[in-house]
């Protein structure tokens, strides 16, 4: 076999695949953050906890109710999305009129509560979740071995991301959403129920996080802390991409995952910090973010 820059291709493509999977999660999570930010003007600190809840709901479905992975892939986002709707209706709505930084503090508090409760009930060691039978095994692509489930994660995330982009940019519902983002008062004057739209948007953004959580459950173990550190990386992704564009969030998410994978091959020590370093560089060169509009 040939070698690339002294790195065996097996290792290179293996890490690139891992990077692409991390990138899928970055993309879905930063997409959800961007959608929520667009309409509510808050950064949803609970996003990581909601991603973790998605994984836990899938695990509970399987272990308590015997509901399989495929049904959980649909049910968990709905269930977590409903909790999101409740949070928006009863908590976030009450602070919509004050400085948006309070939204950050409120969602941070919620994240502490959710993560604490799960940690107390399930410990911090992590629970195993089996890969569904249909997606076990893998393909030999000649240059690397592709586990079926990992391929599925990338494809499923791409589909969800593109579907979200399509709904927001190309449908009538999406045009309402964009109008409400631009000017909520005027949109409401046209007879569109903006408060309902806000609630549903938050629920949808949260459901996206839960969907990512279900996808992640068989790869990483189901763990109360799985979202806590991830969400900080996703924040950096959001700063790099800028929250102005849906496609920007998707592209930035996947590319940063790949960059992280490459770093793991060539300079593993920096793999945990490379995204933060890129963030620093982007702030120096293009403070509004790669896809952001200048404030």
């Amino acid at each position: 076999m040939f070698e690339l820059l002294g790195v065996p291709p097996q290792a290179l493509f293996g890490q690139l695949l891992l990077g692409l999977i991390n990138g899928s999660f970055y993309a879905i999570l930063s997409l959800g953050l961007a959608v929520i930010f667009g309409l509510l003007n808050i950064i949803n600190f609970t996003h990581g906890a909601q991603y973790m809840m998605g994984a836990f709901v899938a695990w509970m479905c399987l272990n308590y109710l015997g509901i399989n992975y495929w049904a959980a892939l649909l049910l968990a986002p709905i269930a977590v999305g409903i909790t999101g709707v409740v949070i928006e209706r009863f908590l976030l709505k009450r602070i919509a009129h004050v400085d948006h930084l309070y939204g950050l503090l409120l969602t941070f508090g919620l994240a502490l509560i959710i993560q604490g409760v799960f940690r107390n009930n399930y410990g911090s060691s992590g629970l195993p979740y089996q890969i569904p039978a249909e997606l076990r095994g893998g393909y030999n692509l000649g240059f690397m071995f592709l586990p079926t489930y990992r391929g599925w994660v990338v494809i499923a995330s791409l589909i969800v991301c593109l579907a979200t982009w399509f709904v927001i940019e190309k449908t009538k519902l999406g045009s309402y959403l964009r109008a409400a983002t631009e000017n909520p008062t005027l949109t409401q004057a046209f007879g569109i129920n903006v408060p309902l739209l806000v609630t549903l948007t938050y629920g949808f953004g949260v459901a996206l996080a839960a969907f990512a959580g279900v996808l992640a459950a068989p790869i990483y173990s189901v763990n109360p802390n799985m979202g806590a550190d991830l969400i900080i990386v996703v924040f950096a992704v959001v700063v790099i991409g800028g929250m102005g564009s849906i496609m920007g969030a998707i592209v930035t998410g996947f590319s940063l995952g790949l960059v992280e994978g490459l770093t793991k091959v060539f300079y593993p020590e920096a793999s945990a910090t490379v995204i933060f370093i890129i963030m620093a560089i982007v702030l120096l060169v293009k403070p509004a973010g790669l896809f952001g509009r200048a404030a």
Partner: protein, 330 residues
């Protein structure tokens, strides 16, 4: 974006205006009251507990300086607190520095780190600023995790010698150490108070309230923001470095993001943008942690609940409420 305190809490908004004579007198009396309380405290309470409160109160004061008077909500202040705590512990243990030099070294490093992080973070405002400071602080956390030669990794730096102040006075006794910590705290408090009420502080407040206008008047807004950021990081470092000497320990907890959250909570409970709020907040939160220590992991949940309740019902904080009640800025 206007700052979090002035747009919402009317009590805190009072602090913007000129300080009249009666308020100045009230503040002076409060300072004297605090000094007296510091002298009495070690005789009525467990000195180590009081020292813990003082370190965290100074940390919260530093954080509040940036938020209340720079209008910048940092979610990464653990980086300066934690790195200073490592530097002070390391230099005291491995280089044999006297405690005051170790604390100065920690403070200096924290200020330098603040200069680097601040220069990046002030390029964005509001929510982005919070996310950037959080991400940069996470970088400091990973650095600490990956360099066990310096930080001791998961174990941290343990058994840090308290040493002799100026090479003369042993600080091994809690009472002796207490006076150093009390002096550091009082010095930090007076410094912050002086900065807030100096011409520099006035310009900072002007920039916080209306940045384009301050720029049009000829002030270099980003230099002022960076200066207040560095000052805040340095004082946070002073608190962290002192804490390392008190507990003879520097660990990953001090640089973790949950520590950044804790200092936000203390300031929120005490009153964002008030001069004395962070002290009250630190007393409340540290006592709460002490009482709830037996609950173990539930402490996080309780802290989360306090966060939610404060944001929903109690945005002025304790001191903010009192200030509104007596109609004077505190």
């Amino acid at each position: 974006m206007a700052d979090i305190a002035s747009t919402d809490a009317p009590a805190a908004a009072l602090a913007i205006g000129e300080v009249d004579d009666s308020t100045a007198r009230l503040h002076r009396n409060l300072m004297i009251g605090i000094a007296i309380a510091l002298v009495i405290a070690p005789f009525v309470a467990y000195p180590v507990f009081v020292m813990k409160v003082l370190c965290f109160a100074l940390f919260a004061l530093a954080f509040n300086l940036l938020l209340g008077y720079g209008g910048l909500l940092s979610f990464g202040h653990a980086a300066y607190f934690g790195m200073a705590s490592y530097v002070s512990a390391y230099t005291a243990k491995h280089w044999g520095l006297t405690p005051e030099l170790a604390i100065l070294a920690g403070t200096g490093i924290a200020a330098l780190l603040g200069l680097a992080f601040g220069a990046l973070a002030i390029r964005r405002q509001g929510i982005y600023f919070a996310m950037i400071t959080l991400a940069l602080a996470q970088m400091a956390f990973f650095f600490s995790l990956q360099t066990p030669r310096f930080t001791g990794g998961e174990d941290g730096i343990q058994a840090v010698p308290r040493g002799k102040l100026l090479g003369l006075f042993s600080l091994a006794d809690d009472r002796a150490l207490y006076w150093l910590v009390a002096a550091v705290f009082m010095g930090g408090l007076l410094l912050i108070y002086r900065v807030i009420h100096s011409p520099f502080g006035q310009v900072c407040k002007a920039i916080r309230d209306n940045e384009p206008r301050a720029i049009s008047l000829g002030y270099r807004a980003s230099q002022y923001k960076l200066a207040v950021f560095v000052l805040s990081a340095g004082i946070a470092g002073l608190a962290g470095a002192t804490k390392a000497i008190v507990f003879q320990l520097a660990s990953l907890t001090d640089v973790h993001w949950s520590m950044s959250g804790e200092v936000v909570l203390m300031t929120l409970v005490g009153g964002l943008g008030t001069v004395f709020g962070p002290i009250v907040g630190a007393i409340v939160i540290v006592s709460m942690q002490n009482f709830l220590a037996t609950l173990g992991a539930w402490v996080t949940v309780v802290q989360g609940v306090v966060f939610v309740i404060c944001v929903l019902l109690f945005r002025e904080g304790i001191v903010g409420m009192i200030a509104k009640w007596i109609k004077k800025p505190l």
